[in-house]
């Protein structure tokens, strides 16, 4: 029964992805992409991974909002599909190679419902499952692995996220005003810098 539900969900995901690629409307493509993400969240839920389902759902909402904001201006725009013979041949070859590799990989998999790493008695996953609660005291084994056994990885991940935000803020910041003596001959510098992203000044709050 579970396999039938999963197959239906994956089929819908593939349909959504195809619609996102093939539709000429940018807005429809963004919405289809969001549908694929929400279906993936349901797939995670059926595969008993609620942690991933929650994260996927939350990230999907934020991504959808950002994509909608980015494309809202050109919502009615139509994008002409492009592609020459060489591009199609390259895509076809790539898809064929991926299908071959995927088929080879699936042949090595244990049957559905059997954990991959459970076949070896001394696999690390068995150790984590056995020792997770006694050693860390955390009832949620995912958090126990993320923040205790593999805390070093998570620390690096948090630092990478910090650097990424720092980079985004530096790249996308408001361009600095040039000094008046350097601005001669440049008509654009008379522009009023709007302080939208800075602190709201006194008495200028929301009415």
């Amino acid at each position: 029964m579970l396999e039938i539900i999963l197959l239906a969900l994956v089929f819908l995901m593939i349909v959504g992805a195809l619609v996102a690629i093939e539709t000429p409307h940018v807005l429809y493509a963004v919405i289809s992409l969001g549908a694929v993400g929400f279906l993936l969240s349901i797939v995670f839920l059926f595969l008993s991974a609620p942690d991933l389902a929650i994260t996927q759902l939350a990230v999907e909402v934020i991504t959808l909002v950002l994509l909608l904001q980015a494309t809202a201006r050109g919502a009615g725009e139509k994008v002409a599909p492009e592609g020459g013979l060489v591009g199609r041949l390259a895509t076809g070859t790539l898809v064929l190679l991926l299908a071959l590799a995927g088929g080879r990989m699936l042949a090595e998999f244990p049957p559905f419902g059997q954990p991959v790493m459970d076949r070896f008695a001394d696999a690390p996953s068995n150790h984590y499952l056995r020792e997770g609660l006694p050693q860390t005291g955390a009832a949620n084994i995912v958090t126990a692995v993320l923040l205790d056994f593999r805390a070093y990885d998570t620390l690096g991940e948090a630092s990478v996220l910090f650097c990424a935000v720092l980079g985004a803020l530096s790249v996308l910041r408001r361009p600095a005003r040039t000094r008046p003596e350097e601005a001669t001959g440049n008509e654009e510098t008379g522009e009023e810098p709007d302080a939208r992203l800075d602190e709201p000044e006194q008495g200028e709050g929301p009415s």
Binding site: P50, D51, A53, I54, T55, A58, V59, V61, I62, V65, L66, Q69, A70, R73, L133, P134, T136, G137, A138, A139, N140, V142, T143, A144, L146, L147, D148, A151, Y152, T154, L155, A158, S159, L161, F162, V165, A168, L169, L172, R173, R174, R196, L197, D198, E199, P200, E204, G205, P206, S207
Partner: protein
């Protein structure tokens, strides 16, 4: 999205719904962060949910109202503070227990399945939650501002 009376944000209906809903979204995010070691969830997912409450505020009421609630410098401070809490916990493990990122705060077995269990894990979760919430809010703010700037320049270019 600009209202006729020059007010930022969306219509009255959207703003009213936002006013009712934003607290629950934030509460749910905080719950996910605080109970991350007991139930599904954790710092990252809870932080994203809490950030979505503020992103909703930016979209529904405009950037000015959102910045009055959660200013840019507060978000930047929270962003740095979250990483510092996590790094501090990892370094405290090095000092107190002799290993980097060691869970030095051992709790008795009777404390299992309660909120105050599993040592430094909830503290790290809180750090990550604050950090992810603030950084996503900052990134959304900057991206929306950049988009508006680009479109304003487009309009200036279109109508000389």
């Amino acid at each position: 999205m600009i209202q006729p009376e020059g007010r930022e944000g969306m219509s009255l209906i959207v703003r009213t719904v936002c006013r009712w809903v934003k607290g629950f979204i934030l509460l749910y995010g905080i719950y996910i962060v605080l109970y991350g070691h007991l139930t599904p969830g954790g710092g990252f997912s809870g932080g994203v949910i809490a950030a979505s409450a503020y992103v909703l505020l930016v979209l529904a009421e405009g950037e000015r109202s959102a910045l009055a609630v959660f200013s840019r410098s507060a978000a930047a401070t929270g962003d740095s503070l979250g990483v510092l809490v996590f790094w501090g916990m990892a370094l405290a493990g090095l000092l107190l227990a002799g290993g980097f990122a060691v869970n030095f705060w051992t709790t008795p077995a009777s404390a299992r399945f309660t909120l105050l269990s599993s040592g430094i894990i909830p503290v790290c979760n809180m750090g990550i939650g604050v950090k992810v919430c603030c950084s996503l809010y900052l990134v959304c703010l900057v991206l929306f501002a950049a988009r508006q700037r680009i479109f304003q320049e487009d309009e200036k270019g279109d109508s000389p």
